[in-house]
């Protein structure tokens, strides 16, 4: 080993390099962060201000729960809020008043309060897209009332409510994908000037001493503002129109008898047809396949007749539900189905003429529905024991 200044200097330089490259500037230890699991944005009483609520999960209380006989009476989560002109300002003031820094990488939900949604969320979306710690696959929800109430509702079976809400959404997604809207989908619809977005509504219901959460209906956003709601029935129509139903049930009525049908599959195809003036007409072909779950009545009728009747009645019911949803969107002048976007994609030259006038065209847009239904199965029995 050569001695002298040069090897010594090289060794010193290498040691210094090793020290620097451990990245100690950006160290984040688990006990210095508070993990945010849900974010809520409400309109504050003072005009021009918003109230930001964050739900923070406590890592210690969720982990070890294997001790019997000991009551864990403390909540596994914490709700903090701050008031400011914008989301980023509120996050800043939360950071100042907290012993830990907020860690938003694991945030799963963003909930807008109803009144704030009516004011407009476009500025919040701007902040959320720029903010480095926010991910584009968080679920978006609108709270009926205040977002803070929803985030502060303790759930029976889940320690941290946001995780519970996340699981609720995933459950509802088993029925249809329309019940989950990620930030990416919302932004995609916001950017396109002709489209409107439909975001699930969640509310906190207080029954006697307990409170629980329930998701019902969709909130319709146009140009970044909430303009109306779709009821649970109309939400079904929305799902049918998009062909996004994976399971669920359909109640059909023939006047004196009724039946419950389980939806096993559904497809829809949208086509735009143009008349000689260049005005569009939308043609949607919906194909639904069902399994009979329950027959109520239908005494003394042969099975083939019942199936035929059920087919017809199912088609009528679906048509009614879809049309009810479509008419509501026409009243709100909100193209949540993306018909304008569809014309833009598939008929881009014709769209250029229609683009500026879509606001006027949509409320009187003609829709031709063609619904095919098929009953695949009748469950474990075919003839009802009642007909005996």
């Amino acid at each position: 080993m050569k001695t002298g200044l040069r090897p010594a200097a090289a060794a010193a330089a290498t040691a210094l390099l090793l020290l620097i490259s451990s990245g100690c500037y950006d160290i984040v230890e688990l006990d210095t962060i508070s993990i945010v699991t849900g974010v809520g944005i409400d309109r504050d009483e003072k005009p021009g201000l918003i109230r930001l609520t964050v739900q923070v999960g406590k890592a210690e209380t969720v982990g070890g729960g294997g001790e019997t006989g000991k009551e864990i009476s403390e909540k596994a989560y914490l709700v903090l809020d701050a008031t400011d002109r914008s989301i980023v300002g509120a996050l800043d003031s939360l950071r100042q008043d907290n012993s830990r820094t907020l860690f938003l990488h694991h945030n799963q939900l963003i909930i807008f309060g109803e009144s704030h949604a009516k004011d407009g969320i476009a500025d919040d979306i701007d902040a959320l897209m720029r903010y480095h710690q926010s991910h584009m696959n968080v679920y978006m929800l609108v709270a009926e009332g205040n977002a803070r109430e929803v985030l502060d509702t303790e759930m029976e079976l889940e320690k941290i409510p946001s995780v519970g809400i996340d699981r609720m959404i995933k459950n509802k997604m088993e029925i249809s994908k329309v019940y989950s809207v990620s930030l990416l989908e919302l932004v995609s619809k916001l950017i396109d000037k002709s489209s409107a977005a439909a975001v699930p509504i969640i509310k906190s219901i207080k029954e006697k001493d307990l409170s629980r959460l329930s998701m019902q209906g969709l909130a319709v956003f146009k140009n970044g503002r909430m303009v109306g709601k779709l009821s649970e029935n109309q939400t079904n129509g929305y799902a049918w129109m998009l062909g996004e139903i994976k399971s669920g049930s359909l109640k059909v009525n023939t006047g004196k008898d009724s039946a419950e049908l389980n939806i096993s599959a559904c497809e829809s195809k949208v086509k735009a047809v143009f008349d000689k003036n260049g005005m569009p007409k939308i043609q949607v072909d919906i194909n639904g396949r069902f399994i009979v779950e329950q027959l109520i009545g239908f005494e003394g009728q042969p099975l083939e007749e019942v199936i035929g009747l059920l087919n017809k009645v199912a088609a009528d019911t679906v048509k009614q539900v879809v049309l009810s949803c479509f008419k509501q969107t026409q009243r709100l002048n909100a193209d949540i189905f993306g018909f304008g976007f569809h014309i833009h994609k598939y008929h881009s030259r014709k769209w250029k003429a229609l683009e500026g006038r879509w606001e006027q065209i949509y409320p009187s847009l003609e829709l031709a529905l063609n619904i095919q239904t098929e009953i695949l199965d009748t469950g474990k029995i075919s003839i009802s024991p009642k007909t005996a």
């Binding site: 490259s21 950006d26 990488h105 950017i191 994609k345 881009s348 769209w351």
Partner: protein, 373 residues
């Protein structure tokens, strides 16, 4: 007189080109806001248009076997003029190193190490490049194959992870934008990733294969690298759709959305690792080639003592060049394609043209002499 004595295999050469090109998949944010969902079309056109460019480079290498770019300049243009043109190339290569370094610094400080000051990231990196350049060409290009395989595997994993989010309708509407956007992006794509392969003319003499067969390795590297970037772009457009024009790092966002087997998510760290590996390869290669070209132009016996001061110079240069990322993006979209065009396409074409003119003039001269006798 050559400064570099080691030889590399033709496969290493080809994979070096492919790795070099693939590292530019980070730079898609330069042109994606212009053509949005049609970016892949412009990119494919640029890739095809650059095949004749590879033919030009291979011809240039073939016309002067055993000479690298700087030596070819001197042979064709004479000592004085050749040195002037070589100085342009040297400036170009050093600028490339510093710009890529700046990209890397921006990327690391924006995504992974937010509080670390950028000069420290740049200095750590350049020292690593110095270390590999110290040992010469073979070391610099040795890991190209490995890096390429790693990046292909990570790319494949990411595509599997986002299969649930792909919407084929995101590619429509096609050809909806004004034609000048497509021309601009084709121009950008052909000069910024693909044209920079002119730097490989510095190492063509050290490839262990006959100079005549170089074309297939040039084109092979171009296609492999270009197709990998195309896959990245297709993946990003399929996932992000019309929102792609808004993000400054679209691939990063696409990676963030992917989920594997319902448990492995938030995989953006793999993207960061991949980009750092690929950019390391590109920058160390660029640094090595600029040192080689500098010492070749100044006719020095070796470049090793110059490594550290040039590294310091490059580090400082990269901070000086563009203080602000918005100016950098605007320049990359508007003026850089033209500047790079002159250095990557016009100059080599001019060199080849002059070479042919000289050759035919010499032949005529010989013919005349033969006729006179």
């Amino acid at each position: 007189m050559t400064i570099e004595h080691s030889k590399i295999s033709a496969g290493q050469f080809m994979f070096s080109i492919a790795c070099f090109l693939h590292s530019s998949s980070l730079l898609t944010s330069f042109f994606v806001p212009i053509t949005k969902q049609d970016s892949w079309i412009a990119h494919t056109i640029a890739m095809i248009l650059c095949i004749p460019l590879m033919i030009l480079y291979a011809q240039l290498a073939k016309s002067h076997p055993g000479l690298n770019l700087i030596q070819i300049n001197e042979a064709v243009f004479g000592k004085v003029f050749g040195k002037i043109i070589s100085l342009f190339y040297v400036w170009f290569f050093f600028t490339l190193v510093s710009l890529n370094m700046r990209d890397l610094g921006n990327f690391v400080s924006k995504t992974t190490m937010i509080k670390t000051p950028m000069p420290i990231i740049i200095i750590l990196f350049i020292l690593l490049c110095v270390w590999s350049a110290y040992y010469g060409l073979e070391v610099v290009t040795r890991y190209s194959t490995v890096f390429l395989i790693i990046s292909a595997v990570i790319l494949l994993i990411s595509i599997i992870a986002i299969t649930g989010l792909i919407n084929p309708e995101n590619f429509l509407p096609v050809f909806d934008l004004p034609i000048k956007n497509y021309i601009q992006v084709t121009h950008i794509c052909s000069t910024i990733p693909f044209g920079e392969t002119v730097i490989f003319l510095m190492i063509t003499p050290y490839v262990d294969k006959s100079q005549k067969k170089l074309l297939r390795y040039f084109v092979g590297g171009l296609l492999i690298g270009g197709i990998l970037i195309l896959l990245v772009m297709l993946r990003d457009i399929a996932v992000l759709g019309n929102t792609i024009g808004y993000f400054s790092l679209p691939s990063f966002e696409a990676f963030r959305l992917g989920i594997l087997f319902q448990t492995i998510s938030h995989m953006e760290i793999m993207f960061s690792i991949l980009l750092i590996i690929l950019l390391y390869f590109k920058i160390s290669f660029l640094f090595y080639a600029s040192m080689l070209s500098l010492s070749q132009t100044l006719e020095l016996k070796t470049y090793r003592p110059l490594l550290l001061p040039c590294a310091a110079f490059v580090a400082v240069y990269s901070i000086i060049n563009y203080q602000n990322i918005l100016i950098q993006i605007k320049a990359a979209q508007e003026t850089i394609p033209f500047l790079w065009f002159t250095l990557e396409i016009l100059l080599p074409a001019l060199t080849l043209a002059v070479h042919y003119i000289k050759k035919s003039a010499a032949k005529k001269g010989n013919g005349k002499e033969a006729a006179l006798r």
